[in-house]
């Protein structure tokens, strides 16, 4: 599903965020990215989503090389991804509902479908009663859950989530982990970064650990 081979990401400043990384995520796998702050977790996820381009090496998603993909085709590839950003990236000038509806509007879903799907997604993160609210009226953890709802509302084949439980206390974190597990069970491919891997500890999850941009440990692939 996703393959990184020999990927190095060097930033203009001279920083090497990721160094000669080989990583392959099979369809239906649940991969946990761990590592200290600045280890390169977010960078790996951005490379997989085509948000950053590798300085060296190739990134392939669903058989398409992101280095050579037509720029017109990238949007359609992205509509199969669900992204949870570390900094949320919620739009503060529109309601929770409209934030979650954004991927559906962009993909051109008809209006009737949108309402149903958005409410289903908000229900899964426990925020159905806040749909008319403004993101600024939400607590940090609530915002994070809206972000998760937006990532899954269009039922993507792949979910890439960057520290989705950072702002959540243990009880909520476990709920989100449960949500990810259910997605995993219905065949969604997941790559999730975290700095508290214990919450995810599970036989079906494969942990990939980074240190200063280098892969230091990689569990076995378990589809």
């Amino acid at each position: 599903m996703i393959t990184l081979s020999g990927v190095t990401k060097r930033h203009p400043g001279g920083q090497e965020a990721v160094r000669r990384l080989d990583l392959s995520v099979a369809r239906g796998e649940f991969v946990l990215l761990t590592g200290h702050s600045g280890a390169g977790k977010s960078t790996v996820l951005k490379l997989m989503a085509g948000i950053e381009r590798p300085t060296e090496g190739t990134v392939t998603v669903s058989g398409q090389d992101l280095g050579t993909i037509r720029s017109g085709a990238l949007p359609y590839l992205r509509r199969n991804l669900g992204l949870v950003f570390q900094d949320h990236k919620l739009l503060l000038d529109r309601s929770v509902f409209d934030n979650v509806a954004l991927p559906l509007r962009i993909a051109g879903f008809p209006g009737a479908d949108i309402g149903k799907r958005v409410r289903a997604a908000l229900d899964r993160v426990g925020l159905l009663d806040r749909e008319r609210g403004d993101p600024v009226t939400l607590s940090g953890g609530e915002q994070q859950r809206v972000c998760i709802a937006r990532a899954i509302v269009h039922r993507p084949a792949v979910v890439l989530a960057d520290e989705p439980t950072a702002n959540l206390d243990e009880a909520y974190a476990l709920e989100i982990v449960g949500l990810f597990r259910r997605l995993h069970e219905v065949g969604v491919t997941l790559v999730v970064s975290t700095h508290s891997p214990t919450a995810f500890g599970d036989a079906r999850v494969r942990e990939v650990a980074l240190r200063q941009g280098i892969l230091v440990r990689s569990g076995e692939a378990r589809a």
């Binding site: 989503a49 381009r53 359609y76 509509r79 991804l81 990236k89 991927p103 509007r105 962009i106």
Partner: protein
Amino acid sequence: MSRLLREHGLAFQDALRRLGGQFVAAFLNLLVIGIALSLPLAMYVVLGNVSDFSRQAAAEPQLTLFLRPDADATVARNIESRLKGHAAIGRYQFVAKAVALEDLKKAAGLSGIVEELGRNPLPDAYVVTGRPDGAEALEALRSEAATWPGVDHAQLDTLWARQVEAVIRGGRTVVVILGSLLGVALVAITFNTIRLQILGRREEIEVSKLIGATNAFIRRPFLYLGTLQGLIGACIAWGLVMFAVGVLERELGVAASLIAQDGVLRRLDIRDTIALAVLAGGLGWFGAWLSVTLHLRRFEPV
């Protein structure tokens, strides 16, 4: 097809909402665009009126052929036939000596004198009006006509004609300069508005691209917004100019009938209006397109 229509409909709604949402700011912006458009438009209307005026008055240079006192009807007919075939001529008029005397009597303070004259010392004459801008052709006609039999002398009011032509040419230059300047201004205003709209919606654009929006999808509401701004600006300009012409007409009073024969100044007709709408809408679209194209680059390769 229906999906494309739906997406255009949504983009248009988005543009409308954006205009309505920041009502005061949008209104001020439209006012500025309207004012900017109204100025060359007003100049255009003024020039239209002035050139109507000048066409009927001074821009058409006049040539007067005074006939010899002994010239008879045959000679006059001969001259008339020469004039008829001449390309430089707009129209001509025969002024009999008796008519000329009556005119002289009406002229200021001369009635007494004319009576004292006892007899009519004036000659018959042809007053020839050249085509507009045809001063040079008329000049040539003057030299030619001076040699015609029966013509005493031919007098051309060239200097005045040339001066009025120069004034009108100057006026045209001003309209061209002004029109270009304000065309640039319209594009600049739209460019800036859209630029700031884009900056204000940075996050939205960024997030939309990240979750699969195409460039066309992102562009569309801005292009509608630019075009709409231009069109509404054009409406405002149209209203301002129509209003101003009305005010001017009332202020001028009698003088208005100096400019337009019936005292009603020329206004914008349906063709002017359509041209204005197309131009303003087009310039608005262009400003928006330029802005979107330049500024969306920043969001690459995200």
